[in-house]
């Protein structure tokens, strides 16, 4: 059956061979056949299977004589598959993929309809396994800005980043360190993103993680560094989903080739790695996972940090970072759950409040003048008002907190009527003009 399928639909052009395996048989399946779920048919009962292995397992159950148990085909040649989509690079036999499942996934991802949607963030995927993988990590990712603030939401991270003071400083440093050759400011800026994923990262996942970050800034690809920069911006911003298709295995190779020195200023010396281990501790972002990681990883992490600080003013920035971390620690303990944002502005949060209060005082004093302006109504109501006041109290109109407030003002009224600002009703108007921040009412 399988041979029949191939005979009907395969085009094996002469003269074209797969790049890695010249002997490989190039198979071009139609989209329909590619996506067919039961390509492998049992010749005995006609049952269909998704994979050849499953078919073979099934055939064993038919208790075939020994001879027929073997594969009936000729010697098995390595098969490679091309993408049915004509405009795709993988349509060409030299770019065929060796794995049937792989070409299926590729076809779906690139040319297929995105039927699977994440419930949390409504991101869509064409391949179910991609969607599953994403759902596991969605929402668990953390985005860390240079200023030290951590976000669980990408959109708030981005909006924060655009207006963050760390951005303003960083680009100033970038232009100062302009001896980066052949690297656009955008690329350099990308380096400084700390992509802090879930704490446990091991083996190949880690490799993919890093490769997607490191890919754009590779000095090994000078020819289209701009494109890779943008792509790098892409892969930095997107999560490390498996749907970063077949670039992944390329990246793994790249990563091993990469020299950790790559991101550092070529003219700068490397501070000892232990310095950076402690840095992580101060930030408190990465906990013990440094030890769980590949041997190569700590140095890769540290180069990331390194590049953040490698330029003439690096001695100051390390201190500044430590200070910020200390601030972040102190403010986060003092503020509420929602103040991780405020924490990024460190001590400024408190000073903002006092500045706001001070200006409020100024403004309210200004407005007292408005109320005091009208001479017409001064002292008109005098006695009547005091009578009103006692009856009002009795009526218990106010919530309990008000009563206390009224009591206090009553004292003021009887005691110091002469000294107070008079309003148009002839009564002191403290409640609006008074500069006291009455948080006890809240």
């Amino acid at each position: 059956m399988l041979e029949k399928l191939i005979a009907e639909e395969a085009i094996t052009p002469n003269g074209f061979t797969h790049i890695n395996n010249p002997e490989a048989e190039v198979i071009a399946l139609s989209p329909k056949t590619l996506m067919a779920t039961n390509r492998f048919l049992c010749e005995i009962c006609g049952k269909g299977f998704q994979r050849d292995q499953n078919l073979q397992l099934h055939r064993r159950g038919h208790n075939l004589p020994w001879k027929l148990k073997q594969r009936t085909t000729k010697e098995v040649r390595k098969r490679v598959y091309v993408c049915p989509e004509k405009s795709c690079v993988h349509n060409h036999p030299s770019r065929a993929l060796g794995d049937l499942t792989g070409i299926k996934k590729h076809f779906c991802r690139k040319h297929g309809e995105k039927k699977w949607k994440c419930a949390k963030c409504s991101k869509c995927y064409a391949v179910q396994s991609d969607w599953k993988a994403h759902s596991k990590t969605c929402g668990t990712r953390e985005y860390k800005c240079d200023c030290g603030t951590i976000f669980s939401r990408r959109d708030s991270f981005i909006t924060h980043r655009a207006f963050c003071d760390a951005l303003a400083e960083e680009t100033a440093r970038v232009t100062a360190a302009s001896h980066f050759n052949n690297v656009t400011p955008a690329a350099v800026g990308n380096v400084n993103y700390h992509f802090v994923g879930p704490p446990v990262l091991a083996g190949p996942t880690m490799a993919q993680h890093f490769s997607s970050i490191f890919k754009p800034i590779s000095a090994n690809r000078p020819e289209n560094h701009l494109d890779s920069t943008r792509q790098g911006a892409l892969s930095l911003w997107t999560s490390t989903d498996n749907n970063n298709d077949n670039n992944d295995h390329d990246n793994l190779q790249d990563m091993h080739q990469l020299d950790p020195v790559l991101y550092a200023d070529p003219h700068q010396n490397h501070p000892p790695p232990s310095h950076y281990q402690s840095n992580w501790g101060v930030f408190g972002v990465k906990t013990t996972s440094d030890h769980e990681v590949n041997v190569s990883a700590p140095s890769l992490f540290s180069t990331q940090n390194e590049s953040h600080q490698t330029h003439p003013t690096s001695s100051m920035s390390a201190t500044a970072l430590l200070q910020k971390a200390a601030q972040m620690g102190s403010t986060s303990s003092a503020t509420t759950n929602h103040s991780s944002f405020l924490g990024s502005f460190g001590l400024k949060a408190n000073s903002n409040i006092t500045t706001a209060t001070a200006t409020l005082v100024q403004n309210e004093n200004k407005f007292c003048g408005l109320y005091g302006a009208n001479p017409m109504m001064n002292g008109v109501l005098g006695n009547d008002l005091e009578n009103e006041f006692s009856s009002l109290e009795q009526l218990q109109m106010y919530p309990p907190s008000k009563r206390r407030h009224i009591q206090i003002d009553q004292e003021h009224h009887s005691g110091n009527n002469g000294g107070q600002t008079r309003d148009f009703l002839g009564v002191g108007i403290q409640p609006i003009c008074h500069p006291r921040m009455r948080f006890d009412h809240v």
């Binding site: 949607k117 949390k120 409504s122 869509c124 959109d155 708030s156 981005i158 909006t159 924060h160 980043r161 655009a162 207006f163 951005l167 303003a168 680009t171 955008a186 800026g189 990308n190 920069t229 943008r230 911006a233 892409l234 911003w237 997107t238 509420t336 929602h338 944002f341 405020l342 502005f345 400024k348 903002n352 409040i353 706001a356 200006t359 403004n363 200004k366 408005l370 109320y371 009208n374 109504m377 109501l381 008002l385 009103e388 009856s391 009002l392 009526l395 109109m397 106010y398 008000k402 003002d409 148009f424 009703l425 009564v427 108007i429 409640p431 609006i432 009455r438 948080f439 009412h441 809240v442």
Partner: protein, 402 residues
């Protein structure tokens, strides 16, 4: 004293949000009645009473009472226009990049009030710009360009080749203060840097226009024929003088945009002058609306928050503007979605349906905030609503010229 007793009978003890029965609403409506009936004696009583109970630093009731009392007083003193101008220029002097940024971003962190409109409109604009390589967005909004970083992210990552983006931000205000100009300069720098970081070819032009938005010279927008055009009006259409709104829409129609997005707050505040019956109706709606807003703020922010205070004082100025300023000078006259829609239809626009992906994005957005927020599409009018505890508060919709 008898009629006073009768007058001051205690309102029912309601602590829920049935707003009409709360003591500020009762007292303030009584005061408004007294104003309309020119009953000075009673008015004085009420205002004295409200004065005693008010505080801009207290609970929602006390705050509402404070701002409304101040506005009512200014109204009867007939000094609304001047007072509003003083308040606005004082606020402008206090403006700084840090305080503005902190206020906007904190607000967006704790409440979807503004992010709702951003997500909905960005989704619609992205769709309209699909496949285009040169984009021009005319941005007339009150959110200091905080809508655009996520948009830039979307075009940088969602398309194979990042298109060129030109952004023209229009700040139209009766009194174009130096403070806002300074803030916008800093914002420009940040946006340009960020665009470079994102790898988006970007140009930002900030236009300051003093006067009514409908009097803006369209030539200043520098429309280019080879660019796809989007016009984004976020919270600014209400600032246009009531009888000039249709004219402005016609002018926008003339620019032939690919899409026009509009975000407005759902309230019926386009009331008449303060002598008529319309004043009472408008005043009541004003009370209702700002109560919703203050309550939403109160439940979104932590107890003591300087950012919330800034937002409340800005709302207080809006109340002043609505209650005390002449209709020609008023810049806060919100209309309902139904009214905006009929204007848009009349001016040659037809609604663009909100895509499922966009409404999913909005639902995902709301999931990240506290309880109480929801979204829905209305059967009778285009666009989608943000609702706070079942009350529609913000409306977002997209239109294209036919």
């Amino acid at each position: 004293m008898d009629h006073h007793q009768q007058y001051f009978s205690p309102p029912p003890h309601h602590h829920d949000s049935v707003s009409a029965n709360t003591w500020p609403s009762v007292l303030l409506m009584e005061a408004a009645h007294a104003v309309a009936e020119k009953n000075h004696h009673r008015l004085k009583h009420l205002m004295w009473l409200l004065n005693e109970l008010s505080s801009p630093y207290g609970d929602t009731n006390q705050k509402l009472s404070a701002y409304f009392l101040q506005s009512l007083f200014t109204c009867i003193m007939d000094s609304g226009d001047r007072c509003y101008q003083i308040l606005s220029s004082a606020a402008d002097k206090m403006l700084s990049f840090e305080s503005t940024r902190n206020m906007e971003l904190k607000f967006q962190e704790v409440s979807p009030w503004t992010t709702f409109g951003h997500v909905a409109c960005n989704g619609a604009i992205m769709e309209a710009f699909n496949g285009k390589t040169k984009l021009h967005i005319i941005d007339v909004s009150t959110t200091y360009c905080t809508q655009w970083p996520t948009f830039m992210d979307a075009i940088a990552t969602g398309t194979d080749q990042t298109p060129h983006l030109r952004l023209t931000t229009v700040i139209a205000a009766k009194f174009c203060g130096a403070g806002v100009q300074k803030v916008m300069r800093e914002i420009s720098h940040r946006m340009e840097k960020f665009a470079r970081l994102m790898g988006v070819p970007f140009k930002l032009n900030v236009l300051h226009h003093s006067g009514d938005l409908s009097e803006l010279n369209m030539k200043r927008l520098d429309i280019q024929d080879d660019e796809a055009l989007a016009i984004n009006l976020n919270g600014t259409f209400r600032s246009v003088c009531s009888h000039r709104r249709d004219h402005l829409l016609s002018m926008f129609h003339g620019l032939n945009p690919n899409i026009l997005t509009i975000v407005e707050e759902e309230a019926d505040l386009n009331m008449g002058s303060f002598n008529g019956f319309e004043f009472l109706k408008g005043f009541q709606e004003c009370l209702r609306w700002f109560r919703v807003y203050f309550e939403a703020l109160d439940e979104s922010f932590p107890t003591t928050s300087s950012q919330r205070l800034m937002l409340e004082r800005s709302a207080g100025r809006a109340v002043m503007n609505l209650v005390a300023c002449s209709p020609e000078e008023s810049v806060e006259r919100r209309e309902t979605a139904a009214k905006w829609s009929s204007r848009l239809h009349a001016c040659g626009f037809s609604p663009v349906r909100c895509r499922d992906e966009v409404s999913d994005d909005v639902v995902a957005l709301l999931r990240r905030y506290r309880e109480g927020w929801s979204t829905n599409t209305a059967e009778t009018v285009a666009g989608i609503f943000l609702r706070w505890k079942e009350t529609p508060v913000v409306w977002a919709s997209a239109w294209k010229p036919i």
